[in-house]
């Protein structure tokens, strides 16, 4: 059930991203829905689950057409995001502000991780200007969307598994 809910959210996010969100001519960039979903689920499930979920989501994002970059780059970035967000699991009195902060940090981490590996591989798309642009845009748009997306995803994840608080060691 847990897996089903997570998979459904990630796949929906991926498809909505490429078929709808990316077509909206927003200035300078666009929100990244997958980061939002990974963060929202990791906040409920913890770092281990977050890392695995992030990795698999990234893997899917790496192959969903029209992606055209080296496989594994988003898997790497999102795994790190999932782990980092998962560290804040269980913070019962987590405020909305804190959630937004996690989303901002997660989005920035995703962009930097993806661009960093790209720079190492000599990807022509990664320039300082492009990085700055994408970083600012993704963080801002994700923060704007966070109050709408994160509670829905986290809430559904909690309902799917009321007892569990992630994979305990």
């Amino acid at each position: 059930m847990r897996r089903l809910v997570s998979t459904a959210f990630v796949v929906t996010a991926l498809l909505v991203q490429v078929t709808i969100l990316n077509r909206i001519p927003l200035p300078n960039g666009r929100p990244d829905l997958v980061v939002l979903v990974v963060v929202a689920l990791a906040l409920v499930r913890g770092p281990e689950y977050g890392a695995i979920l992030g990795f698999l989501s990234g893997l899917a994002a790496d192959v969903v057409p029209p992606a055209d970059h080296t496989m594994g780059r988003l898997a790497l970035a999102y795994a790190a995001v999932g782990y980092a967000a998962g560290l804040l699991e269980d913070a019962e009195e987590r405020s909305v502000f804190a959630t937004v902060l996690v989303v901002a940090a997660g989005s920035a981490l995703a962009v930097i991780g993806y661009a960093g590996v790209g720079a190492l591989l000599g990807d022509e798309r990664i320039t300082l200007a492009a990085l700055g642009n994408s970083l600012v845009a993704t963080v801002i748009y994700d923060v704007v969307l966070a109050p709408f997306v994160v509670p829905v995803v986290s809430g559904a994840a909690r309902r799917a598994d009321p007892a569990g608080y992630g994979v305990r060691p």
């Binding site: 770092p47 591989l121 492009a130």
Partner: protein
């Protein structure tokens, strides 16, 4: 905060796996098996989603162009009362029909054999890529490295082909490079996509000259792959001053509006020869305009057809 050795171990393993994947995929250059699988698995789903989502997408898409529509409209009002009425009536369906006609028109004049297609998804990772998925694939005879056009000109080239979907590298992508020729001359060079920076044209040969307003058409690749000849690309808007430079570079305003591509055509066959500059819009405007979409001016008179 809750952390554990186990979670850290899992993370380390995943990162290692990701690095391994990256290395493997990087070495196996173009595509690799994963992306083919991605196209085969996600392609049909994207097609289905795009069918449902198209009205939403085109609604938002048109929002971004309200100002240019308005400018067009004002111009047309002076020109043609009937056309203005028509523009007012324009809905998404009619716009698509019109762009389909334009693609067919361009292809007809060039005698290209094209496979018409619809854009169903755009842009890969995190706003760094300018790519599009179109709803035709190997079953429709599409192969990698084919020219993709729309009614305005060069859109891009195919890079990854699945059974029913194809990934197109758009002309705006920083990875995109195509041979180009200056209108009315033999001067050649290459255009390069710039991402969020403007597209540029580099003229090979230091003796030749170019000036704002000059138009560019594609220069055929060997065996017409990936690029067929004569497809309009754009108009030069600014030439960089080049003290002591061997090659001259200019900023290009592409004819194609990459933010709202919808109906495209994949060129699957091209005639051996195409008359020079025959595919450029019929009447070059006297003033080099700075407008965002120079190729879009609707011409009331039908363009001279077929070069035979």
């Amino acid at each position: 905060m809750r952390d554990s050795r186990r979670a850290r171990l899992v993370l380390a393993l995943l990162l290692l796996t990701a690095f391994t994947l990256i290395t493997l995929d990087y070495r196996s250059n173009a595509g690799g098996p994963f992306r083919t699988i991605g196209n085969a698995v996600f392609g049909p789903v994207e097609r289905a989603v795009a069918d449902v989502a198209r009205p939403v997408g085109s609604f938002f898409g048109s929002l971004g162009h309200l100002s240019s529509y308005r400018a067009d409209n004002a111009k047309l009002r002076k020109q043609n009362q009937a056309l203005r009425e028509q523009l007012r009536l324009t809905d998404a369906e009619r716009a698509r029909l019109r762009s389909m006609e334009q693609v067919m028109g361009l292809a007809g004049r060039a005698q290209f054999r094209i496979v018409p297609a619809q854009v169903i998804a755009v842009d890969g990772a995190l706003g760094f890529e300018w790519t599009a998925t179109i709803d035709v694939g190997s079953r429709d005879g599409i192969q990698t490295n084919m020219t993709v056009i729309n009614g305005d000109g060069l859109v891009g080239k195919t890079v990854e082909v699945g059974p029913t979907t194809t990934t197109v590298l758009l002309g705006r992508d920083p990875k995109f490079t195509a041979g180009a020729r200056l209108e009315g001359t033999n001067e050649i060079g290459h255009v390069d996509g710039g991402g969020r920076q403007p597209m540029t044209f580099t003229l090979l040969g230091s003796s030749s000259t170019m000036k704002p307003g000059d138009r560019l058409v594609s220069f055929a690749s060997i065996g017409n792959r990936p690029f067929v000849a004569e497809v309009p690309i754009g108009r030069i808007v600014r030439v960089f001053p080049e003290p002591g430079q061997l090659f001259r570079t200019a900023v290009v305003a592409p004819f194609v509006d990459f933010t709202s591509i919808d109906v495209v055509g994949v060129v699957v066959a091209s005639p051996r020869t195409i008359r020079r500059d025959s595919l450029l819009p019929p009447s070059p405007r006297p003033s080099p305009s700075q407008s965002r979409s120079p190729g879009r001016s609707p011409s009331p008179t039908p363009s001279p057809s077929g070069t035979g």
